[in-house]
């Protein structure tokens, strides 16, 4: 569903070139959850933004359902849902107004949007506060509204950029249930996170991103065979340590 080929992106930070993503390739199949993992600054957000079509790669391209993002930008955006760390809500709108607004932004027809709203309200347990202003919601409630927002246009591909950052156990649990739900619906999920323990629980395959390149890729058992470590956390520590012996870690590791 998602095919990223040789993506490269370079930024200029204070006059110096900085390679955030350096020629990565990966693919996500239908109904698969792919974990794009890495420490802060590894290039996860930059990669997701290129998949999203929000950033134009310097080299390489992304295909979603066989369409290239640089050629069918607006068509592809209808196929994609995005939920990211810093997603907020509109304090002065009610939950219903906000969700219908996003349906309009995705050009969903009004009757379909209303139907979907009802469905999602039941699924994510937001029915009780549908007509409440978003400013009055608790953090957990806001998070569920955000998840519903990502599904208002029922996209076949879901991009989750650090969806659990700043959430407590209950909040993270909601997200995992959400990912399970997406998987059951046959959606392709690209999940970026630095919480490796979480990723182990929900992802089918992994790409270990470091310094803008994918160091290891495969299922958990593939990676175990490859690295000889039991857990992702250990693999990463190994990776970073080998890095230290080779070269000092650059002070700024990406614009993510």
């Amino acid at each position: 569903m998602i095919v990223a080929t040789h993506l490269r992106k370079q930024f200029v930070v204070r006059g110096k070139p900085l390679v955030a993503v350096n020629g990565i390739s990966f693919h996500v199949k239908e109904g698969e959850v792919y974990g794009l993992l890495g420490p802060n600054g590894a290039g996860k957000t930059t990669s997701i933004r290129m998949v999203m079509g929000l950033l134009e790669p310097d080299e390489g391209y992304v295909e979603i359902g066989g369409m290239r993002t640089d050629q069918h930008a607006s068509l592809i955006r209808k196929e994609l849902g995005l939920i990211s760390t810093n997603d907020g809500v509109y304090p002065w709108l009610s939950v219903r107004e906000m969700l219908l607004y996003f349906a309009d932004l995705y050009a969903v027809e009004v009757p379909i949007a209303k139907e979907r709203l009802e469905e999602l309200a039941g699924l994510l347990g937001i029915r009780d506060f549908l007509d409440q202003r978003c400013s009055t919601l608790s953090t957990g409630q806001k998070q569920r509204v955000t998840l519903a927002r990502g599904l208002m246009h029922d996209p076949p591909v879901m991009l989750l950029d650090e969806p659990t950052r700043g959430l407590d156990v209950v909040g993270s649990q909601t997200v995992f249930e959400f990912i399970d739900f997406l998987k059951k619906r046959g959606k392709s999920v690209l999940l970026s996170t630095h919480r490796l323990d979480e990723a182990e629980r929900v992802c089918d395959r992994f790409g270990l991103l470091h310094h803008g390149t994918i160091r290891y890729e495969g299922t958990l058992s593939d990676l175990r065979a490859l690295t000889g470590k039991e857990h992702l956390v250990d693999m990463f520590i190994d990776l970073i340590q080998s890095d230290r012996t080779q070269a000092p870690i650059s002070s700024s590791m990406g614009a993510a």
Binding site: L54, S74, R77, V89, W92, L93, D104, L105, Y106, A255
Partner: protein, 745 residues
């Protein structure tokens, strides 16, 4: 794109932004609370200012009348006494005359010599209304000029006639001077005229009989305008209104852009397929709506304050803050709101947080306030070139509307240029909006509008058109004005116009197209041969011939209709041809007949045809076709074509708008149907040539065609011309049928 403009979706998007703004307490405070507080406070402050700057108030009105000598004073007082007699005799007194309740006996003015004639109940009042003064060191005229006096008696004569019953009937003749545009001086003049009218009425009715000549003759001359302290105060109100409109727009502008980032909703929003322009447009509509609501609230509050307090009359003259002025200022504020909201959105789109946005806005406000304060200077006139200075133009125009007399040309320039600036600012805002950061350079950003693009494109887009127009219009306006004022000789003026046309409409757009790496052939519809180009469409020789014939026929037919339209509009008073202007037109006609016809054809038909077609049917039309349908593109390009023709030299010729609009529509149709520029050049040149050829004839010579005393073409001519135009359009349709020519982009 289309799906966002259908099914009321854009409306719902705008509604979301409006909800967000209007549910916010802070918006409501600026919207309703501020006007309620500001105007009463302002009116109190102004009242104090006016009391300080003007001698006397409405309750204690008195006018200082300057007389040269004792004799004049005597005659003046006699005339007042005569007025008193008239009042006593029961002639209906003017209300103003007996209004004054104060005595003038204990006045101690160094220049005043009071005359006391306590011979009736009301004489005191009248004496108090007109207090006499004799300037010691200067003439009365000079004292008046210096503002020491309200009215100067230059000459006064009195003759005493005897009636048949032996009664003495005084007859007066006065020569007075007053300051024009000075409320007090004009008021004094008015009161004195009323008083004298009373004497006239009295004598005519009681003594002399209606057939006799007037008893009092008053001649008055103005000595020109003088600084009036209240005039500058009249400029305060527009400034306050504009400032309040800005205040109303600031908060929603920040909230809907930088606020969106701060809340973390921006990314989710721009990740949707909704085009950024649509997102920005909905925000723009919301900001303008809030700004207009604020303007309305403020206008209404200020109108009520000024009307209730009587401050309006003191500030703005006799009529006060009239409903008419209110209705004229409201659309101005709407236009201003449209302009400034776009500026604010552009500024705020740049910011990543509320604080950052505020930090950007403060310098913008200060920079725009500096010229705004200039408008408060009393002697600043709303001159032509100020008409294209943003903000200042709207301020001066509102000031002039409030005090009564806006000049049409700068007024037009103010409105039109502000609209263009608004469009350009909106374009910049839509580029800035959602642009991630300076490092993520791949998104189209505002700097793309200035930098030379790397990729070549076929035709300009609407953004480029707005920016180009925003740069071109003020320059064009000022240049045509200056040349219109400086060059009065006809031959240099013709050449100068031609050069301006070539520079502005031919060379400058060509340079722009080169710089932006646009395609010359596509932008300017430069296809000549029958099959030399692949785009747009291949047409055979027969089509080319058809176009040629139809373009010539259009030229032959259109000018008669355009001329008639022009004449009819002029007759209806649209042109407001003053006597002076028609005289200069006659002089111009004489000059025109003396210059060689070839020169005329070259400068007034050929050059305009080529240059204007190049710009209006090439650049402008192509830019519209980038986004809009053919019909809209033709209509809008014709509109711009018409508006540019309203400015001719240093005068505003409204009557030229509709004929030019008509011509623009026909030429637009020609360009779209043929996909080429040259047929339009033919039509345009023939049209202009014939039109100017007509101006070479004397009215008497034209009578042979038009019939005696008739300024219009005979009906037969008009019908025939319409027929010719019809045939031309039909032919155009048929010769473009063989291969339909589709959207250039």
């Amino acid at each position: 794109m289309q799906e966002y403009f259908s099914n009321g979706r854009l409306g719902r998007l705008c509604l979301k932004e409006l909800r967000e703004s209007l549910r916010d307490r802070r918006t409501i405070v600026t919207l309703f609370l501020m006007p309620i507080l500001v105007y009463p406070l302002l009116s109190m402050a102004m009242q104090r200012l006016i009391v300080g700057s003007v001698r006397g108030t409405s309750e204690k009105q008195e006018y200082l009348i300057g007389v040269a000598d004792e004799e004049t004073a005597q005659i003046f007082n006699n005339s007042i006494r005569e007025t008193q007699r008239a009042i006593n005799a029961g002639v209906r007194p003017s209300i103003d005359i007996v209004r004054s309740q104060t005595s003038s006996k204990n006045k101690s003015d160094p220049v005043a010599t009071d005359s006391d004639h306590p011979d009736s109940d009301h004489t005191d009042d009248l004496q108090a209304l007109f207090r006499l003064a004799m300037p010691e060191r200067s003439s009365t005229s000079e004292a008046l000029k210096d503002g020491l006096l309200d009215l100067a008696v230059i000459q006064a004569k009195q003759k005493d006639l005897r009636s048949r019953d032996g009664q003495s009937i005084p007859v007066f003749e006065f020569e007075l001077q007053f300051r024009e545009g000075d409320l007090r001086s004009e008021g004094a003049m008015l009161e004195f005229r009323k008083a004298m009218q009373l004497v006239n009425d009295y004598q005519a009715a009681m003594i002399r009989g209606p057939s006799l000549p007037t008893a009092v003759q008053v001649k008055a001359a103005s000595i020109g305008k003088r600084f009036d302290p209240t005039a500058s105060l009249a400029g305060v109100l527009p400034l306050v209104l504009i400032l309040m409109t800005i205040t109303g727009a600031v908060y929603p502008a920040i909230d809907l852009t930088a606020g969106e980032r701060e809340r973390g909703t921006m990314e989710a929003m721009i990740a949707t397929p909704a085009p950024r322009f649509v997102l920005l447009l909905s925000k723009y509509v919301a900001v303008v709506t809030v700004a207009v609501l604020t303007a309305l609230a403020n206008l209404f509050a200020s109108w009520i304050t000024l009307s209730i307090g009587g401050l309006g009359r003191a500030l703005l003259g006799e009529q006060g803050f009239s409903v008419l002025a209110l209705l004229q200022i409201l659309p101005l504020l709407v236009i201003f709101a449209a302009f400034f909201s776009a500026i604010l959105l552009a500024m705020c789109s740049f910011a990543r947080s509320f604080k950052e946005a505020q930090a950007y806005l403060i310098p913008v406000m200060l920079v725009s306030l500096a010229p705004a304060l200039v408008t408060l200077m009393p002697n600043i006139e709303f001159s032509t070139w100020l008409g294209v200075v943003p903000l200042v133009n709207i301020l001066l125009l509102s000031r002039d509307i409030m005090t009564g007399s806006p000049a049409p040309l700068p007024a037009f320039a103010a409105v039109f240029s502000t609209l263009i600036y608004a469009a350009a600012a909106l374009v910049v805002a839509s580029r800035l909006f959602g642009a991630e950061s300076a490092t993520a350079g791949s998104q189209e950003s505002w700097s793309d509008l200035l930098q030379r693009p790397r990729k070549a494109r076929a035709i300009p887009d609407l953004g480029e058109l707005s920016i180009y127009l925003a740069l071109l219009f003020p320059i064009f306006f000022i240049v045509t004005n200056l040349t219109g004022q400086w060059i009065t000789e006809i031959v240099p003026r013709l050449w100068c116009n031609a050069v301006v046309l070539i520079l502005m409409f031919l060379i400058a757009p060509a340079l722009f197209v080169w710089y932006r790496r646009l395609d010359f052939r596509n932008t300017f519809l430069l296809d000549f041969g029958a099959s030399s180009c692949s785009k747009p469409g291949n047409y055979g020789i027969s089509s080319q011939l058809g176009w040629l014939i139809s373009s010539v026929l259009l030229g032959l037919g259109l000018w008669v209709i355009a001329f008639e339209l022009f004449k009819t509009l002029s007759d209806l008073g649209f042109g407001a041809l003053s006597l002076e202007r028609s005289e200069s037109l006659d002089a111009l006609k004489k000059q025109i007949r003396e210059i060689p016809f070839w020169m005329f054809l070259l400068t007034s038909a050929l050059v305009p045809a080529v240059a204007e077609e190049f710009f209006f049917r090439g650049f402008v039309l192509s830019a519209f076709r980038h986004r809009l349908s053919a019909v809209w593109s033709i209509a809008l390009s014709a509109l711009i074509f018409g508006v540019f023709h309203v400015i001719s030299g240093s005068v505003l010729s409204i009557e030229r708008f509709f004929p030019t609009l008509l011509l623009g529509l026909a030429l637009g149709l020609l360009a779209v149907r043929t996909g080429r520029l040259w047929p339009g050049i033919f039509t345009h040149a023939i049209h202009n040539g014939l039109m100017f050829w007509l101006t070479r004839f004397e009215e008497q010579e034209l009578e042979g065609w038009f019939g005696k005393g008739n300024q219009h073409f005979p009906v037969l001519w008009i019908t025939a011309s319409m027929g010719v135009v019809g045939v031309a359009v039909l032919l155009l349709w048929m010769s473009s049928l063989d291969r339909s020519h589709e959207n250039v982009s």
